[in-house]
Every structure is written in C-alpha cells, then in structure tokens.
C-alpha cells in the first residue's frame, strides 16, 4: 500500500486516559506518534502533534478525573480532541498564561506543573480551541495541517 492509499481514507483512534496514573502517562501520546510515523506523516508535523498530545494527556492525568483522547487523521489535517469529565477550569485565560499552574506539590516534584502545557499545545497547533465548565469538564481541540 502506498502512502497515498493509506491517506485516502480518514482514520480515528480513541484512547482512555486515567486520572493520577503517572506510570502510564504518555502512552497515548507515544502510540499516536508511532501511528503517524507509520502513516508517513512529515516528521515536523509528527513532532508538533506528539508534543501537543503529551501535554494534553499529562493535563488529564494531573488535573482531571479522567477522560478520552481522540485523534482523527484525514488527508488534509490531523485533528486532536481531548475531553474530560471534570472538574473543569475556572479561569481559562489564566490557565493559558505561561507559568500559571494549579498542579499539586507531588506533581511538581516529578517535574510537572511548569504551567506550560496549554501554551505549548497552542503553539504547536495550527488551530486551537478550549472550552471548559466547572463541574462539567474540559474540551480541547487542536488541528494540525498536513502540508502536501
């Protein structure tokens, strides 16, 4: 199968993210990276998606009560979606500010909670949307154009 054949149809992958599981954390991002490489996606795009996926996954492990990551691959773009079921972000503007973090001391000792997660995702993507409601959850969508 050529790269073009593989890329002709859309593809969706779903990963479940467990809250607080630091040992498993990063696995979904790793799997996404492997998949994109197998599909022959440009190395620069793979790196940007990988970074965004890692940051979103870590955010969910550290802050959420769990959720789902979805990756949609079609010939023009890669769309990354993360959705959790709470607790939600009180002030998104503040959360988007580099250096701001609400991570616990435990997470910080492990090197998380630099307050760069969401800004990193935004920087890496071509399009970025985040919506959150306290008590409901957070939805994040990042799009990465595939240059042909």
């Amino acid at each position: 199968m050529t790269r073009k054949d593989r890329m002709n149809s859309s593809m969706i992958q779903v990963y479940e993210i467990e809250s607080g599981n630091f040992t498993k954390a990063g696995e979904a991002a790793g799997n996404i990276k492997k998949l994109l490489r197998q599909l022959g996606i440009d190395a620069g795009v793979v790196r940007r998606v990988s970074i965004a996926a890692y940051e979103a996954e870590m955010n969910m492990v550290i802050h959420s009560i769990g959720g789902i990551i979805k990756i949609l691959i079609d010939p023009e773009a890669i769309t990354f979606k993360a959705r959790d079921t709470g607790p939600g972000i009180e002030d998104i503007e503040l959360a988007m500010k580099e250096g701001y973090s609400t991570a616990t001391d435990f997470a910080r000792e492990l090197g998380f909670g630099a307050g760069m997660g969401l800004p990193n995702i935004k920087k890496c993507s071509d399009d970025f949307i985040i919506k959150s409601e306290v008590g409901v959850g957070t939805r994040l969508e990042a799009r990465f154009n595939i240059s042909t």
Binding site: E27, M58, L110, A114, K123
Partner: protein, 112 residues
C-alpha cells in the same frame, strides 16, 4: 558527536543502551520541568535531568532524545530502566553535577 565520545569525557555508569553508543547526538538540553523540555529539547539530542521516574522515557521518545544523563549518582527507578531498554534510550548515570556535565560537553563543542 556520538554517545561513545560523551562516555569518554563524562565519568559515568552505562545504565541502558550499550548497543546504541554509535548514535549521533546533535545537541543538548538541561532541565527538570518536563513541559519546558518538551518545548525546547533538541531532536536526536541529549538531556540532563535529575528526574528519574518512568515518564522521562515518554518525553525522550516523543522528542527523539537518544540519551539521558542522570547527574549526582541519583538512583534511577527500576521501571524507568526497563522502559528505556524497551524504547532504545541510552541512560548514563554520572557522579558529576548537571552543571559540570553540561560544562564539559559544551567544552567539547556541543551546542544547545
């Protein structure tokens, strides 16, 4: 510069990846905040960090960092070693501080 060249200049114990020493290293980064490393770490590079938990391997894999140096003989968690073996990441443990290691590598002509 190859990992082999680094091994000759930095006192170390090779923890994982003895079959990977011919790998080329193109730059280095020093840091313990993982998001900062994600944002700045060089591809095919080397990373010096005091973090020793398994998640550093996830970061290395995603950034294609080929070698991690743990300074000050900090004990490395067994599942980190296991994962590094699985993913083909070289881990070196050194008695030197991160400052000393980075200084020596820089002196050899390695850039950030």
């Amino acid at each position: 510069m190859r990992i082999n060249d680094i091994i000759n200049v930095i006192p170390n114990t090779l923890v994982t990846g003895k079959e990977l020493l011919q790998k080329e290293v193109r730059g280095g980064y020093c840091g313990d905040l993982l998001s900062r490393v994600m944002a700045k770490g060089p591809k095919d590079g080397l990373w010096i960090t005091v973090q020793t938990h398994v998640n550093i391997i996830a970061v290395a894999v995603l950034l294609e960092i080929s070698c991690i140096i743990i300074p000050e003989d900090i004990p490395i968690e067994p599942n980190t070693i296991e994962k590094a073996d699985e993913e083909g990441i070289v881990i070196l443990s050194s008695p030197l501080s991160a400052f000393e290691i980075a200084g020596r590598l820089h002196g050899m002509g390695m850039d950030g």
